[in-house]
Symmetry: C2
């Protein structure tokens, strides 16, 4: 069966302010110094599915810039524009319907656009195994990341041993998912790590388009109805109008809550390829090696007695004296100075700017 | 006797980087939100000496901008340009020679250009008393600031009680200076404060031009010889050439080391007019009232859990999360983030930038 990459690239990434802005969200940032995140994601999945078989689902407001930034890699018609952000279930359902209607069926490899992978060869090996699993089991496949520390910032996947192992047609063994669990506190995270049965939820899913649509029909019938109406219009002159009308009405729910956590036929392929979810600015520290004082530096800087800081300047000199565990980010018209342990609160700054009507900074 | 103001405005103010730069040193910064420091100094001394009787001694490289910035207040010919920075003795000697040669004699009120005075009326009252003292005693007069806390950042003046009090022709009593002492450690500063005999050395001096020139002749004969040669050329077509040639040869010494600490005929007028020496960036906090979290803010900012910080942005938004006792200063192409207790080290950042050849930031 043919395989397709589906890159979910509709988020705003407000935890990445001031780097991310309305008109240039996180997935369009070049954080690695090599390329923007969405292009790195395209290249990563292209090894498994072929460059010509990739879709990007993004927000209508970002679609134009997305087309410009991915030109050369992506045919513009493979960039699906959502008229409204309706969370991941809608996004995945839309792509599944597109594949079923235009190509009968296919295996979808669904990836967030804002993740970092160090070992891309190993990633490809794991992804190929997941594709095989999806094809031969007809189940929902997810990639679980071998945890390396008791992370509290990720959800976890618990797999079963013993009865939880199933065998595919190829003779390969697959671990069934027992449950998905929310981000734990530190104590629980330590228990998870010690047990050996828990992996980080990567948010990467692999399944047949027809299989996930059956899941929508069964578990999310309201969304399925919307998707059916959109599917009926696909390829007709009414397609754009129908999407504009129907899409904003799709109930907002994540694929995790809507389907994954409510399904028993889920298997997990374990991966260990230097993975990180680039969720907040403190993750900048994993994109580049730190200097001898633990500082990760992007751009020009001079410092005195500065330890374990992230210093990110785009076009200004950053000078620091006597600070530690602080994130400094300068972009265009704004500067953020943030305690490293408070990176999650950057979103609140964006909310405050919006409340004050300071649109130019958003 | 006629009185003259002499404003010493030749410094670079590297502790004020990134606000102060080579081409715009500290005295040309508007920190109060009202006017640049040198203009505020002109206005302050004008009440005692008259606007038309003020000289500014500055560096040749700053003279042009100084003339532009003080236009309307200062006749350009009253801005004396030093071809080289030779410390305060040379600067004061030059101005004294100018006054003696062009106006026979006069009382000089010498002020640094980078001080903050809250109560300008009281300042004028104290300055007028100092002028009277200089005129009727023919001694060296300095203004000592009543200390309000055990400051370690200022030098101190110790005055004598009992025998140390002298009476002027007018019947006024003056306290003679026993000694000038260097910046003390905290313990010593506490002792000074408790004793009641110590005042902060303001760096403001009042005396007759002829009196200080006699002191140069007696205590700094090398400098006096240079000054004499410059004085002989004053008013002749050779004046500029002679200054260019002689001035850079004047030995570098401060008026404090060269004359004040070696003289017994010094009296101190005590002043209490909300004085601060704006020596380093932490002093920005005294120029503006703090908000309820102790933050002093210049420019646009939003913050979360930010305490006792100085947040100074000229044209960028500054956003902070979870920081305290930090100075953030943004100006043009550079941002400084500095522990509030390390403000003295800003000079080292400037040295580092110079060493790296990053001229554009200096």
């Amino acid at each position: 069966m043919k395989t397709y990459g589906v890159i979910m690239a509709g988020g705003g990434g407000t935890r990445f302010w001031p780097l991310s802005r309305k008109e240039r969200p996180k997935q369009l940032l070049n954080l690695s110094g090599k390329d923007i995140m969405v292009n790195e994601t395209i290249d990563r999945i292209a090894s498994s599915v072929g460059k010509e078989n990739i879709f990007i689902v993004t927000n209508e407001t970002q679609a134009k810039l997305m087309k410009t930034e991915t030109a050369g890699r992506m045919a513009p018609e493979r960039i699906l524009a959502e008229p409204a952000a309706r969370n991941t279930a809608a996004c995945i359902g839309y792509a599944a319907m597109e594949i079923v209607k235009k190509y009968e069926d296919g295996i979808m490899c669904i990836l967030p656009s804002d993740q970092f992978v160090k070992d891309t060869e190993e990633f490809t090996r794991v992804m190929d195994a997941a594709i095989t699993a999806a094809e031969e089991t007809d189940m929902l496949v997810t990639i679980g990341i071998e945890p390396t520390f008791p992370a509290t910032g990720y959800g976890y996947i618990c797999t079963e041993s013993g009865d939880g192992v199933m065998v595919g047609e190829s003779g390969k063994q697959y671990r069934k998912v027992k449950e998905f669990v929310e981000k734990p506190d530190e104590e629980t995270a330590k228990d998870y790590l010690a047990s050996g049965n828990y992996a980080w939820n990567s948010g990467m899913f692999i399944w047949k388009a027809s299989t996930i649509l059956k899941k929508f029909e069964e578990l999310l019938p309201d969304i399925y109805e919307c998707l059916t109406r959109i599917g009926e219009a696909m390829g007709t002159p009414q397609e754009a109008d129908v999407i504009q009308k129907i899409y904003p009405e799709i109930p907002k729910i994540s694929i995790d809550y809507g389907i994954m956590e409510r399904s028993r036929d889920v298997i997990m392929i374990a991966g260990d390829f230097g993975w990180n979810d680039i969720g907040s600015l403190d993750m900048l520290s994993i994109m580049k090696p730190a200097d001898e004082n633990g500082n990760v530096v992007y751009g020009e800087q001079v410092n005195i007695d500065t330890m374990n800081c992230i210093l990110y300047g785009t076009d200004k000199m950053i000078a620091t004296i006597g600070i530690r565990d602080v994130i400094v980010v300068q972009e265009k018209d704004a500067i953020l100075i943030c305690d490293k342990n408070r990176a999650q609160d950057v979103k609140k700054i964006v909310d405050m700017l919006a409340e004050k009507g300071l649109e130019s900074f958003l």
